[in-house]
């Protein structure tokens, strides 16, 4: 129950941290975040027994082309900062992989609030080969 609020705080903080462009002096972070962002994705990678799987490679593939690849941490959590607002979240496919495992299931949790800015939780189950 507690994991979702913690993740939301973490994702919010990550979104607030900005960066700058190369090639032109901007004297610091000059970034307008969130206005054009689609929702971030996060979730858990577990094995068939429900144990966390760390260091799993999680790929978020955009239907129209392109992908973001990240890694689950020691408690099996991954996050992807999000995509352009023009990308329909339903057109993002999450998959996971790790040596010695095969993907058994991917579960997309329903968005309870209906707010399209809410993070989308997609959990992944890996099965030992």
């Amino acid at each position: 129950m507690w994991r979702r609020p913690i993740l939301l705080v973490a994702l919010t903080l990550a979104g607030l941290t900005a960066s700058r462009a190369g090639g032109q002096m901007t004297f610091g972070d000059d970034t307008n975040t969130s206005a054009n962002d689609g929702p971030p994705f996060f979730g858990f990678v577990r094995d068939a027994d429900g144990a966390a799987v760390g260091d799993a490679r999680v790929t978020a593939t955009v239907k129209s082309g392109g992908a973001v690849v990240t890694t689950s941490n020691s408690i099996g959590v991954y996050k992807v900062a999000g995509f352009a607002k023009s990308i329909n979240p339903d057109d993002i496919a999450i998959s996971c992989a790790k040596d010695g495992y095969k993907q058994a299931n991917v579960m997309r949790r329903p968005n309870g609030s209906g707010d399209m800015k809410d993070p989308i939780e997609v959990d992944c189950v890996l099965q030992k080969e």
Binding site: A21, F27, N36, F83
Partner: protein
């Protein structure tokens, strides 16, 4: 009889050769001491022959002794200088090398101006403020040291127009030559005001001395003293060597960030040849940045605001340029990177469009550029900047997202992009190299880390650099698997073994603004090369172990 004559002649020749040896290479040894410390370890002692562009530097050991290697110095009058933070050279300041070895007693005296000796790293260590407040200062070092800021007397209000003026400078600006951007620059006044307010708290606007303690890094010790450093002065202060690499003959090639030349230095003599690069856009800033060989061994240059790429034929010593045409070649157009290493695969060369944060691909047959937006599907609120590039054997591109925190891969056939965020947020990965094992080594400029991305396993490893505020610009993995890195802040070259975690930092003889680093793997031990972008010199560092 004839045999006896031959033996006598051989002995005579050998004797003559041995007699001649001192004239070829003089021996200079000595000790360094001061009243405060007696024998001093870690003092850099430099000798430059009068009229020569070459300076050789060695470092004193735990007993305060130093020795220039045989054969590095010849007969003549030499100027001596030292580097030991907190001290100045009391004497001798010159030494005459003749036929016999010379042992000098070098005396140091406490400096009256410690502030003048601090590196950028030491200023950042010293000045108060949060990491967020100090973060913008890493940009300042592109054009000048932090000495310029901390010695200024501007208050916050006075700093604003200074910052706004500098925003109009091209990034290929050095103190010896300011170059103005042609395209108008958008300035975020709120950010400028915030930075101005902070800078006024760390300079001399409120009094004749700084209201914080000046902190310094320790002098080199032990392994960090086992090194010979050679500086090759370039003939004009407006030469800004950016990327440096050696060729099969041992000559050193560099891109000049400010003047429109490709440089070739003969390190045996210090002789310089300069090859003028065609000017494509008169009135725009000159100078080039990335210098990379193609599959045939010819050198390519990214032409920055001159907008395009240049290929230098190493046999004919001539340039072929590939200009950008059409509406995209506007006043803001800038190519900082070029990646031609696998151009033999498909006849394509990668480059970037800095102003639009895009990647471009040059078709060598048609001369046309194809644009790829690698961040099209990512949130549009974040700034990105494709920077350091590497190509694999299939000419797939790996690039650093210097504006943000990503490694990107662009498929050579489909153009599809895959983004790999670094484990450390806001890391701003800068320059990179791909080794034969498919490992992408890169510097995380803003995170003070060296990192490796395994392109096969698609996994990262990161290592903190030993000294905070180093801001590594680049990293090179040598044939032993050791990493070499440097940057614009610490005046040090980092050698790091990612297997053992053991590191050594070699202090350089002068303030150094280092960009691309290169290791010559053909020698044993390997040799490190870099340009001093603000110091008009080429640096060679030879570890003795």
């Amino acid at each position: 009889m004839n045999r006896a004559r031959c033996v006598v002649a051989a002995i005579a020749l050998l004797f003559a050769y041995l007699q001649a040896l001192p004239a070829l290479g003089q021996t200079l040894t000595g000790t360094v001491s001061s009243a405060a410390e007696r024998a001093m370890e870690g003092v850099l002692v430099s000798a430059q022959k009068v009229g020569s562009p070459i300076t050789v530097t060695v470092v004193s050991d735990a007993q305060g002794r130093f020795q220039f290697p045989d054969g590095r110095l010849s007969s003549g009058n030499y100027a001596l200088r030292i580097r030991a933070t907190g001290y100045d050279l009391a004497g001798p300041k010159t030494v005459e090398l003749g036929a016999t070895p010379i042992d000098v007693v070098v005396k140091l005296a406490k400096t009256a101006d410690l502030a003048a000796q601090l590196t950028n790293t030491e200023w950042l260590m010293s000045m108060p403020g949060t990491a967020e407040q100090k973060r913008p200062l890493m940009e300042c070092m592109s054009c000048h040291t932090l000495q310029r800021i901390v010695h200024s007397t501007f208050n916050a209000e006075q700093f604003v127009p200074v910052l706004e003026r500098m925003a109009g400078y091209a990034n290929n600006t050095i103190q010896a030559r300011v170059q103005m951007r042609v395209a108008p620059v958008k300035i975020n006044t709120a950010i400028v005001a915030k930075l101005a307010a902070y800078l006024a708290t760390i300079n001399l606007s409120s009094g004749p001395v700084w209201n914080y303690q000046l902190k310094t890094l320790p002098r080199p010790k032990g392994r960090a003293t086992h090194v010979v450093i050679t500086e090759f002065d370039l003939p004009r202060q407006t030469i800004a060597p950016h990327d440096v690499r050696t060729d099969r003959n041992g000559n050193v090639w560099y891109s000049d960030f400010v003047e429109n030349f490709l440089g070739e230095l003969d390190p045996k003599t210090g002789t310089l040849k300069e090859y003028p690069i065609p000017v494509l856009k008169p009135g725009f800033p000159t100078g080039s940045l990335d210098l990379e060989p193609d599959a045939a061994g010819n050198l390519w240059l990214a032409m920055m605001f001159q907008a395009g790429l240049a290929r230098f034929d190493m046999e004919n010593k001539t340039f072929q340029v590939f200009p950008l045409d059409g509406a995209a070649n506007d006043a803001a157009m800038q190519q900082s990177m070029v990646m031609p290493r696998s151009d033999d695969v498909d006849g394509k060369v990668w480059t970037n469009d800095v102003a639009r944060h895009a990647i471009m691909r040059l078709d060598l047959k048609t001369g046309e550029y194809r644009r790829i937006d690698p961040f099209e599907f990512l949130p549009h609120g974040r700034e990105h900047a494709p920077y350091g590039m590497a190509a694999d054997a299939r000419n797939n591109l790996y690039f650093m997202d210097f504006g943000d925190e990503n490694i990107g891969r662009v498929d050579a056939e489909t153009g599809a992009t895959t983004i790999f965020p670094t484990p450390t947020p806001n890391s701003r990965p800068r320059r990179t190299m791909l080794d034969a094992q498919g490992r992408l080594w890169f510097a995380e400029f803003a995170a003070d880390k060296l990192a490796m991305f395994d392109t096969k396993a698609e996994t990262f490893k990161e290592w903190n650099v030993p000294t905070p505020y180093t801001y590594p610009y680049d990293v090179f993995c040598d044939r032993h698997g050791e990493l070499w890195s440097a940057g614009m802040a610490s005046d040090r070259v980092l050698r790091f073994d990612p297997q053992s975690g053991r590191s050594v930092e070699y202090l350089l003889p002068r303030p150094a603004n280092i960009r691309r680093v290169f290791v010559d793997n053909s020698t044993d031990p390997v040799k490190f090369w870099a340009g001093n972008n603000h110091g008009a010199e080429i640096l060679r560092l030879e570890p003795l172990d």
